[in-house]
Amino acid sequence: MNELLQQLGTTFAWLSLLQFGGTNAVVPEMHRQAVDVYHWMDAQTFVNLFALAQLAPGPNVMVVSLIGWHVAGLPGLLVATAAMTGPPCLLAFGMSRLMRRAGRSRWLAIFKDGLVPIAIGTILASGWIMASTSELSAMSLGITAAATAFVAFTEFNLLWALGAAIALGLGAHAAGIG
């Protein structure tokens, strides 16, 4: 048990610092470690846990919480989650303090303003990838387009878009066309 927790802790602590652009950047390496190196699970189990984490609410990083849970129960979950989020959080905190010290410096403003379009462009890209990897039917394309317009041009609560989509999906299923 202790050995498992140690494996989880060390593996995710160094993977955590390679998460440039988000957790998805390290999923292939995570897969290799979990399946091939430590034999915590088979490939199919890894895929299922990954799908489950995508489906559930919360940041994508929670796939490691599920892996920890699967490997060593609640202690595993806690160790894996802390190892995967702790080091980046400390770095972000350090960065936050540096920015506070820099205050209204001209260089900091240039740095930040240069990164804004990239952040927005990559959010757009991840939405695009989500849309193009889900099942492509007339209904799902229509739902994606409607949800896009709803968010882009109103400030209403996003739950309306999700709720309407799920109701539509269930309705179509009941009517035998979904």
Binding site: F20, G21, A25, A92, S96, G114, V116, S126, E135
Partner: protein, 178 residues
């Protein structure tokens, strides 16, 4: 604007809990749209910094935003809110998953929800871009980030490493002598 630790915890817990299919739309919705903790521009620049640090963007942003309002304790409150509540939900889902995953109506509901979730992400990027009124350079950089990651499937870390310095240099050149 003064935001207490409790408000930070609850606000980020809401983002985590409702962040079905991705937390980015909810983070912007709660922080900028609903609670007005930050302006569109302040939020976008924190997101830009969060994006170049390793780790999930929303987790990094939670640290910086929490620190901004309440120092280290605020950073901790924000990140715990963002992670703890969805992890509890995730464990609940993991416990019943095998029993409900096979139901066809659950499959259609999930498919429709995923299509809407993709739209929420795309719509959020469009809304932020619309409200920030970027100049032509920023639009080109944003579209380049989108095209490289979304269409050409360049790893996000590589896209950020190449486009980040270019974008910062362009902003610097524009402001030289001003």
């Amino acid at each position: 604007m003064n935001v207490s630790r409790t408000e930070l915890f609850l606000g980020f817990a809401k983002i985590g809990l409702l962040g079905f299919g991705g937390v980015a739309p909810w983070a912007r919705h709660v922080i900028v749209g609903e609670k007005r903790w930050l302006s569109e521009r302040e939020y976008a620049s924190i997101l830009g910094v969060g994006q170049v640090l390793p780790g999930p963007n929303t987790v990094n942003s939670a640290i910086i935003i929490g620190d901004h309002f309440q120092g280290a304790a605020g950073a901790l409150a924000a990140v715990l809110g963002l992670l703890c509540t969805p992890i509890a939900v995730l464990i609940g889902i993991a416990l019943v998953y095998d029993r409900i995953a096979g139901l066809p109506s659950v499959g259609t509901a999930i498919g429709a929800g995923a299509a809407a979730a993709a739209g929420l992400v795309v719509g959020t990027a469009i809304k932020m871009a619309r409200r920030l009124q970027p100049n032509a350079t920023a639009v080109v950089v944003g579209l380049a980030a989108f095209a490289s990651v979304g269409l050409l499937h360049v790893p996000m870390a590589l896209a950020i490493a190449v486009l980040g310095p270019i974008s910062i240099a362009l902003v610097w050149r524009e402001r030289r002598g001003k």
